[in-house]
Amino acid sequence: MSHPFASEGTAGDMAKTVRHGGGVQPPDQPTEQLRLRPPRHRVSPRAVTWWTTQAILLAVTTLIVPVVGLIVWPGARPWLVAVTLALAVLAVAYVLVMPRWRFRVHRWETTDDAVYTSAGWINQEWRVAPMSRIQTVDAERGPLQQLFGLATVTVTTASAAGALRLEGLDHPLAIDLVDQLTKTTQATPGDAT
């Protein structure tokens, strides 16, 4: 489930069909697989606890409104009870499913040339940024992450379209990673645009 990439066509096939100024034609013989492999490292297992805490907080705040409604507005009880119950079921499912699903998806990897991350749960995203294009690397931790000894590493490029975020890393590891990435990017030539 985690990496559903499977289809036809290869880079090799495409390479032969590029024309000057023209388009790329579909490869005639669908032969080999071309799929992204998952990044090497999982995030810290404590991230599951962190995500669960976040999910519980969100679920509780969402449920406050209908519950208060039930108390102060007895006339609406017949249908409001149904709504509240439905919301509660959804909330419990969210609290149970989301953190575990995320933990299966969230992964990261750095090489000498690039940073590679995967993230998400229902909607998933794989991102690659070459070292030569990285502008800043930061580690940050909110109150909850501090509680669980976690940190988020943010890798920004010159693109205005958002940074790579490595959420829920072990805090000491995150610090090391920032150091290492900063050194690597400084050693890599280029103005990052």
Binding site: V18, Q33, W126, V128
Partner: protein, 554 residues
Amino acid sequence: MTPDPEQAGTGTTEPQSDSDWLRLDPRMLAVTPLRQLLGFLPVIAVVLVVGVNQDLGGRVYGLAAAVGAVVILGVLRWVTTRYRITDERITQRSGLLVRKARSVPRDRIRSVDLTAGPVHRFFGLAVVKIGTGQHAEGIESRELTLDAVSAVEADRLRQRLLDRPGTQRRERADGPDGANGTDGGNGTDGADGTGTTGGAVAPVPAGAELGALNWSWLRFAPLTASSLVAVGAVAGAFGQFVGDLGVDPSRIAEVGDVGEQLSTTPLWLGVFLLALVVLAVAALGAVVIFVASWWGFRLVREPGGVLRIRHGLLTSRSVSLEERRLRGAEVAEPLLMRIGRGARLTAVATGLGGHRGHGRGALLPPAPRSDAHRVAGRALAEDPSPTGAALRRHPVAALRRRVVRAVLPVLAAAAALELVSAKLVPQVPAWAGWAVLGLLPVTVLLAVDAYRNLGHSLTERYLVTRHGTGERRTVALKRSGVIGWTVSQSLFQRWARLVTLTATTAAGSGAYHVFDVRTAEALALAEQAMPGLLEPFLHPHGTDTAAAQPTIAG
């Protein structure tokens, strides 16, 4: 990342005498107060006409005091504002009580834009805006504005600041005599005495013209939706104005008559006439806006690799775009324009300002699509233009997704209406739900159009992608300008075995999407556009885990 912050002229560079600091044009002594007073004109009028609790003399004195204050502030601003250009940086100091110093290193300068509103133009002045194209916040400002210098000086600054060191040296070698001849009054370089302003004094080059206004393009003006909005704004402002004056439109005899006649005509005719009038006003307004903003449009490639765009009737604008900042071009066709075979052309470039580079960097007025592609090709120095490349169609699953998205909401709305009319609110007629179903053909047509517009391609140097139905956008992005990839997949995309490939870039909106393609196709495209970047993260060919994964036949 930033070099040493500005030391207010005391440190870093060799000692500079006070005379290196230049003032803004003295004509600003008149322009600054004049512009402010023009802005306050309505207030002044109101004070003079309807001022309360004061005799006329008091009002006049009060006004005189206000005018005096504005003039004094203008003088102070002029006296305290100075700028200096050294070999390394351009610095501006301003402010009396709070001294401000802004500094931009010259090798960071990416754009020098000139703007002159009506008042500035009357006095022969122009505002110079110097941009660095940096997104990151730093000690040093990203932008520096000289408001204002003489139009001649502005153009000289533009050429001088945009001149790369390389070209400057070459031109010095080519014509040192010419450089010395026109050196006077501009000796702020202070590097080696002779010919230091080489680039600045090169004769205005007759650049190659890539595009110029064709008045037949005026036909696209009414097709631009933005002008309709503008007309609405004008109408709103007018209504406000009339309201402010305390005039009831119906009390004006002529308007009252029209109102009288309208009330005796059938409703449908009234609505029809009103719509006609609104359309006519919108079209007229669009034409006026088009003429005002695109008058005298020219796109020129200047020596040294600068694209220069000039246009504007009342406010004249000059935007200079370094070609090395150019990462591609975008041809956008809003629905109405597309029906009229028109398009807009914008540059995809770094440092155009704004979080999302849209709305800036227009390379052409609304123009015929063929012209847009042709000028795109010229601007990118590609023939044929990559924006016009033949595109690969996306999998039929993408069509299915779009049709579902077009049909389901309509069905849901219809069902909801049925339920409401049957059970809860009897006032809702029973046919309302069925009427909503009448939307289906329209939404399905749009879905099919959206699918037909999907496409992507790879040329020798460009990644081309197209999408959209309300506004069809074709983007040609320089492959070397891609600074990362994102592959994303929603739950529904996973079911349809599709992904969206996003190329991130430092230019334009920062991300350009290839929507709804097969995974392998997306990865092959990315790997081919930027060989080697994705490769370490791909499963090896003939992967051993293939058996565990579902495979697609054909």
